[in-house]
């Protein structure tokens, strides 16, 4: 048996080498991980950042007014421009990057006065138009310069690009010139480049990236929370209001059923990170029933629902509407929601 196994490994390695022999040593993740790569290319995370010229928004007619300030986003050639004017003067800048999926909305980042700025207005798909960026101060700005948007500190820029792009940071510094837009393999699989290099150079050891599937529930919550925000981040710095529904690891950790070592409540128990999020509520029933089912021994705390055994999330993970974001978000604070209950923060 051992010799058969050995022969199988040798044949596999030979096949791998043959695969790469004709590709002039240009090795990609997809060559071996076809299923994951194929699904992932269609997912929202790959489009978390796009060049503004490629953003799928209307080319014209995107306007917004607040007090004396008139905003306009339009295409000029291959570039999109962000402009704000107050009747006398205009500040206009070419947009570099569009942040967000374009499912709910998209926020624009551009250079102004040698710094990165987040536009004061964003595009929202629901209204097919512009409105104030989530988090922007509601008061009318005091000047045209203020009306442009939020100047991003270097630290804030790093945080934005590090979550929405791959390879944005080198030695802690931001390199927008060489980043790959969106979340790509290497953004999560930190050792993927070394792993690939091992196949490109046959004399290099074949290292294996860290297996994220081995992370505990809490470690995974922190891992995803790098961008989706951890319990600690939100508990420390907020927001302590309805807007924190967007930060799923925080909400999930507050759930009565959250268990830092039970793999049935980890992020990936419900979400395949290599494919797009599933919107069918029935899809998640089996995940809930993994605990809340008499068939599993009905361990302490995992009560059976007296109301229904299907579409659990439609009641226990309600959609919370944030009007500023023109979108409804699934609340990951799993709970029994009673009529008149206030939003738990």
């Amino acid at each position: 048996m051992k010799s058969i196994l050995h022969a199988a490994v040798v044949i596999f390695l030979a096949l791998v080498q043959a695969t790469f022999a004709d590709s002039a040593k240009v090795v990609t993740c997809r060559q071996c991980h076809r299923r994951e790569s194929g699904q992932f290319e269609e997912s929202g995370m790959t489009n978390a950042l796009v060049l503004a010229g490629q953003a799928e928004i209307p080319d014209s007619g995107l306007t917004f007014r607040q007090g004396p300030f008139f905003y306009n986003i339009e295409r000029r050639g291959n570039q999109r421009w962000y402009a704000v004017r107050d009747g006398k003067n205009t500040i206009s800048e070419p947009i570099d990057w569009a942040f967000g999926l374009g499912v709910a909305g998209q926020t624009y980042v551009f250079r102004h006065n040698s710094a990165w700025y987040e536009g004061r207005v964003s595009y929202y798909r629901e209204i097919n138009g512009l409105d104030l960026t989530v988090g922007a101060r509601l008061e009318v700005p005091g000047s045209l310069e203020e009306a442009v948007g939020r100047r991003l500190s270097v630290r804030a820029s790093i945080e934005c690009f590090d979550c929405h792009a791959t390879g944005a940071l080198r030695d802690g510094a931001l390199h927008t010139e060489s980043l790959t837009p969106g979340v790509q393999c290497q953004r999560c699989h930190a050792d993927a480049d070394t792993h690939l290099a091992g196949f490109q150079q046959s004399n290099k050891p074949k290292t294996l990236p860290r297996r994220l599937s081995q992370l505990t529930t809490e470690e995974l919550s922190d891992f995803c929370g790098q961008c989706h925000r951890t319990w600690s981040q939100i508990a420390s710095d907020g927001p302590q209001n309805i807007n924190n529904v967007r930060f799923q690891p925080y909400r999930l950790t507050n759930s009565k059923c959250y268990d830092s070592i039970d793999r049935r409540i980890r992020c990936t128990a419900c979400h395949n990170p290599h494919s797009d999020v599933v919107h069918s509520v029935g899809f998640y029933d089996s995940r809930c029933l993994a605990c809340h089912s008499g068939h599993t021994g009905n361990e302490e705390g995992a009560k059976l629902c007296k109301v229904a055994s299907q579409k659990c999330v439609s009641c226990h993970m309600p959609k919370i509407r944030i009007s500023d974001a023109h979108n409804a978000f699934t609340d990951h604070w799993i709970r029994v929601v009673k009529p008149g209950d206030l939003y738990p923060i």
Partner: protein, 375 residues
């Protein structure tokens, strides 16, 4: 700074207990009290301070529970620099259940002047915590003195928090800037105690910190350049500049913080700042030596142990990390920060009940922590 307060002789509306109201209550001595109270008020308004003091004293002998009388008597003593009397008057007022922020703050200000600094710190904290929004001039003076005392008791970060709030409120003045300089350079002194040869560096450092606090970044850059060009090898200066740069130029910030350690090998805050920065950058291994050294040099620093614990957890050293965090928690049981890190570490170690307890404690302590100058 005192002149600002002397102009402010009013009793906050919520604290009023007017003699006219007192008169409506039947009392054998009400007529005498009424006369004295009115004469006292007339004398005060006519700036006949000595007469007013005597009349308030006599009125209070008749009616010792007259809160407004104690307020004005205390205020007049303060104006006359009679601080022990002032302290006693406001002490009497607070003992009558006058629990508003202004009364406690005035008591703290008098105790500051009588150099009873422990009591002054406690009472100024109490006053600011209770709120001074109805008495803006007392608010500014009270927060300024609270900052001075926090600095004197080596709570430099808390002092700077208070001063930065004042900077953001636009309360610029040389006294404020000097106070910011003393706190920024981490000198456990009152501004008047700063040696003459250190006044300039103190002011320059204060100016830079003040402008940074007021979010005047360009001006702050110029201030720091002026400070560094004049005092390139002074202790604390590169730490300040490095801390300022952390948001805008983290790489240069690291260089500055390392330079601080070269100049001042015993500088613990620079080490802690470097350790935190490496934690933030996702390079925890690089921060461990700085945090370890900080914890070694100041074994009772909960901040150093907390950062070291977080770094160890991040590098996979879960048990040693938990030990450090527990030590931090023991050193500062009322501080929320070690709790939150400990909650996460316990959860990773599968100690879910401990994690849940620490999360609850964190949320409880965080609410208490909000008061300015509080631990």
């Amino acid at each position: 700074m005192k002149a600002l307060l002397v102009l402010c002789f009013f009793l906050p509306p919520q604290d009023r207990d007017h003699p006219a109201a007192a008169l409506q209550r039947p009392s054998a001595s009400s007529a005498a009290f009424n006369r004295l109270a009115h004469r006292a008020e007339e004398a005060r308004q006519a700036n006949r301070t000595n007469d007013a003091i005597v009349l308030y004293q006599r009125a209070l002998q008749v009616k010792p529970e007259w809160k407004e009388g104690w307020w004005y008597l205390g205020s007049l003593y303060y104006r006359e620099d009679r601080y022990p009397d002032c302290r006693d008057a406001f002490g009497h007022l607070t003992s009558l259940g006058q629990n508003g922020g202004p009364a406690w703050s005035m008591l703290g200000l008098c105790e500051f002047e009588t150099k009873e600094y422990d009591r002054a710190l406690a009472h100024l904290r109490q006053g600011v915590k209770l709120g001074l929004s109805g008495a803006p001039q007392i608010d500014e003076v009270a927060r300024y003195h609270l900052a001075l005392l926090l600095t004197r008791y080596e709570a430099y970060e808390k002092s700077l928090d208070v001063l930065i709030d004042l900077a953001r409120d636009g309360k610029d003045s040389p006294a404020m800037i000097e106070a910011a300089g003393v706190a920024a350079l981490r000198k456990p002194l009152l501004p008047v105690e700063v040696p003459a040869q250190e006044r300039e560096i103190t002011y320059l450092a204060g100016r830079a910190v003040w402008d940074a606090g007021a979010r005047r970044a360009d001006q702050a850059h110029e201030d720091f350049e002026a400070l560094l060009s004049k005092y390139p090898n002074a202790s604390g200066v590169h730490f300040l500049y490095g801390s300022f740069l952390l948001q805008e130029d983290p790489d240069k910030a690291i260089t500055e913080l390392q330079k601080e350690i070269e100049i001042s090998p015993s500088h613990v805050p620079a080490r802690v700042q470097l350790a935190v920065e490496y934690l933030r950058r996702g390079e925890p291994a690089k921060g461990i030596s700085y945090a370890t050294e900080a914890a070694r040099r100041v074994p009772d620093s909960y901040v150093a142990h907390s950062v070291l614990g977080r770094l160890l957890v991040e590098t996979g050293e879960l048990q040693p990390g938990i030990q450090e965090l527990e030590r931090a928690e023991n050193l500062a049981p009322e501080s929320p920060q070690p709790r939150i890190a400990l909650a996460s570490a316990y959860a990773k170690a599968g100690r879910k009940e401990d994690a849940a307890r620490e999360r609850r404690e964190f949320l409880r302590l965080k609410t208490l922590y909000k008061a300015p100058g509080e631990q």
